[in-house]
Amino acid sequence: MIAIVDYGAGNISSVNKALEHLGVTTSVTSAPDTIAVAEKLVVPGVGHFSRCQSLNQTLRAPLLDAIKAGKPFLGICVGMQWLFEGSSEAPETEGAGLFPGKVSRFPAGVKSPHVGWNQIDIGAGSRLLRGIPDCAFVYYTHSYRAPVIGETVASSEYGGVFSAAIERDNVFGVQFHPEKSGTIGLKILENFCAL
């Protein structure tokens, strides 16, 4: 069972539909007990980083425990941003701090939000992006983005280069929306399910 963590940050149903389409058993949940028994975890989310406050309050410990236990974890959009130290969108809200760096807004002069289909430049060896062609198109909708770091396995360009996907051991994050990225996105989710 894959737990889709519901912390009031919207767009849960799209992720759930995509995973159900792949034939996976899912549970949309905000219960620590369900997270504890799940085989894999997905933290979706669109919108404001301050929503991560509710994630921090009740689910931080169970999520970090699951990650420590080596359960595959996928953060999508704000769910990926949460894996970093924090975001200038809500400086008082802590991130999980599993990846170095902070999320920040696109520079002034760049049309924001970044909405639409953009390409990903894929590095070698990613398990999440196995079989995805370089320069594949994925769907984005966001105003803040994470820096390129050592764990970046794919990047996109918009007002500079940013992290499209990060990966370390069984912890994965994507800034784009695989559940809305057509067959490419479904393949990425399938890779995650197959881990």
Partner: protein
Amino acid sequence: MPSERLTKRIIACLDVDAGRVVKGVQFLELRDAGDPGELARAHAAAGADEIVLLDITATAEGRKTLIETVHRTAREIFVPFAVGGGIRTLADAAQVFEAGADKISINSAAVAHPGLIAEIAERFGSQAVVVAIDARRGRRPAEAAEVYVAGGREATGRNAIAWAHEVEERGAGEILLTSMDRDGTGAGFDCELTAAIAATVSIPVIASGGAGTPQHFLEVFTRGRADAALAASIFHFGTHALAGLKQTLVEAGIPMRWPC
């Protein structure tokens, strides 16, 4: 410094009445040419970057059908999916999101109650709120275009450019701009009006009304500065029309999700 790698979007619009797609449906390969779910899936497979379902049902019973239609259609597609038509309240919007829409489009209700834009944006995020603006200018300059509601039947006295600025301030994530002058003519998008709105706001502008040929799309993406273009009838000539359109635009240097 806009990135050239963010593609321009081609959005397919399905007009739906009481659960059936109502106009210009000529997909020969479909079992049921009027089924929104099947048509949406066919458009997505053919390369549409986004699907808009526009409910033109007038009756109350029809509204119930819409929620079922959205639910059924959302299961079929894994590209962004927006729903418009008849959404008047936060509760209406919530129902449509629950049924599986990624975005809602509001028009008359936003003009009548501008606070609704922020209400929906605060609950579901700005990325989920498209404000549709129906504008008409006749022979006047783009700066004088006026906002219409009720399917283009009622003038509001509002200036389209000022309204575009206001909806952005109130939290809209995108603007769907329809030229009433061009809608249904196939004579091309209103590039002057689209460019004037795009210069006013920093959120994406989707141009609509007047699509007839690939050249029209090229013009609205260059001269019109549109981020996306929407059309209904042009895509109903078959899946090849969409592929041909994208191919033509790629060859003209427009960034497109193609092949996809």
